[in-house]
């Protein structure tokens, strides 16, 4: 059989369209023709390397870009995040100041161990001296408990921030 015809059979084999009879003819020829054998081996090798071509990815911000364009996601903006954080801080401070039970709980917690008392006494001094600068309102409202309130509201605010930032980060991958 001519080499040209064998090449056609090899192409058919790579197309997965070769019949059983044609495959037998091809194998019989390959067994006795080293030239065609080498050609066939190289074609198979090329085909295998094609199927293992690596997948390439766009930049990690790609999803974010698409979702923003589709109007499904807003751009990260400190203008949006800062008011949210500030509102969370103010609301939690207000709640802690108004509700009686958190004050009682915090007072109990703050006086339960001497180390905690010492820590909050010192914190209270710092906050009180800050109050001297900031005016009579701050001086009368900020005391030992409010130092602890500050700590809690800071945690709450960080939580709100982390939710916003997590949402931003989810789109990266």
């Amino acid at each position: 059989m001519k080499h040209e015809n064998i090449e056609k059979l090899i192409q058919k084999a790579l197309d997965r369209e070769i019949s059983e009879k044609e495959e037998q003819t091809l194998n019989a020829h390959l067994a006795q023709c080293p030239e065609c054998q080498q050609f066939y081996a190289e074609m198979i090798q090329t085909e295998q390397s094609l199927s293992t071509l690596v997948e390439v990815f766009p930049e990690y911000t790609f999803n974010d870009r698409v979702l923003r364009k589709l109007g499904l996601r807003q751009a990260f903006s400190w203008r949006r995040v800062v008011p949210v954080g500030a509102a969370a801080w103010a609301a939690s401070l207000l709640l802690l100041a108004i509700l009686p039970w958190p004050q009682a709980l915090l007072r109990k917690l703050a006086t339960s161990t001497p180390a905690v008392v010492r820590f909050f006494d010192n914190a209270g001094i710092v906050v009180a001296s800050l109050g001297d600068v900031l005016g009579p309102f701050v001086r009368t409202t900020f005391n030992l408990q409010y130092a602890l309130f500050g700590l809690i509201t800071m945690i709450l605010t960080l939580f709100v921030f982390s939710r916003v930032i997590k949402k931003e980060a989810e789109c990266k991958y």
């Binding site: 190289e42 094609l50 071509l53 766009p58 790609f62 999803n63 698409v66 979702l67």
Partner: protein
């Protein structure tokens, strides 16, 4: 490699109601395949990213008219192909024939090499006509049938076969004589 029809139909339904998570899942499922295909076609990372972006924007825009009985990935690759063809037309690059000028200023191999060890086959692919490259990728990498490739590219199966056979032979030469 093939579409999971049930999962996709559900995702498409959610994406149609502007569900951000569903759109994100569709992006994660297909962006690698679409980007790799376009990247190997245009051989420039930034152009490939812009064209992949355009493909997905068009895809989500046309999603209401998508016929769910059709394979989603074939439809998506049709959009990617049309976007790529437009790019070739606008940048006055040859699509059906290999243009030596673009091989000289080809940053595909260079950029790719920076990131990972370039395979011989990638270097060989960059040296054949874009249309042949496209056929090789769709048939061997994406495992589409001749019928599916014919639908994606809107060219007859006989043309696809002739060009693919020639492309394979050329690739063998390039890989083994490098």
């Amino acid at each position: 490699m093939r579409d999971d029809k049930k999962q996709l139909a559900h995702l498409i339904k959610q994406a149609l109601s502007s569900d951000e998570a569903a759109c994100q899942k569709i992006l994660n499922l297909y962006k690698g395949r679409i980007f790799s295909y376009i990247y190997r076609m245009v051989r420039n990372y930034h152009d490939a990213e812009d064209l992949t972006f355009e493909t997905f924007i068009k895809c989500f825009g046309a999603l209401p008219s998508f016929d769910v009985s059709r394979p989603f990935s074939t439809w998506l690759f049709t959009i990617a192909h049309n976007v790529t063809i437009d790019f070739f037309r606008k940048s006055k690059q040859e699509y059906e024939y290999f243009d030596e000028r673009h091989a000289v200023y080809d940053d595909f191999v260079e950029e790719h090499e920076k990131k990972r060890k370039t395979e011989k086959i990638d270097r060989a692919l960059a040296k054949i006509a874009p249309l042949d490259r496209e056929l090789v990728i769709l048939f061997h990498r994406e495992e589409y049938s001749y019928q599916e490739i014919s639908e994606i590219l809107s060219i007859p199966i006989s043309t696809i076969k002739t060009r693919l056979h020639r492309a394979r032979k050329k690739l063998r030469e390039l890989v083994h004589n490098e």
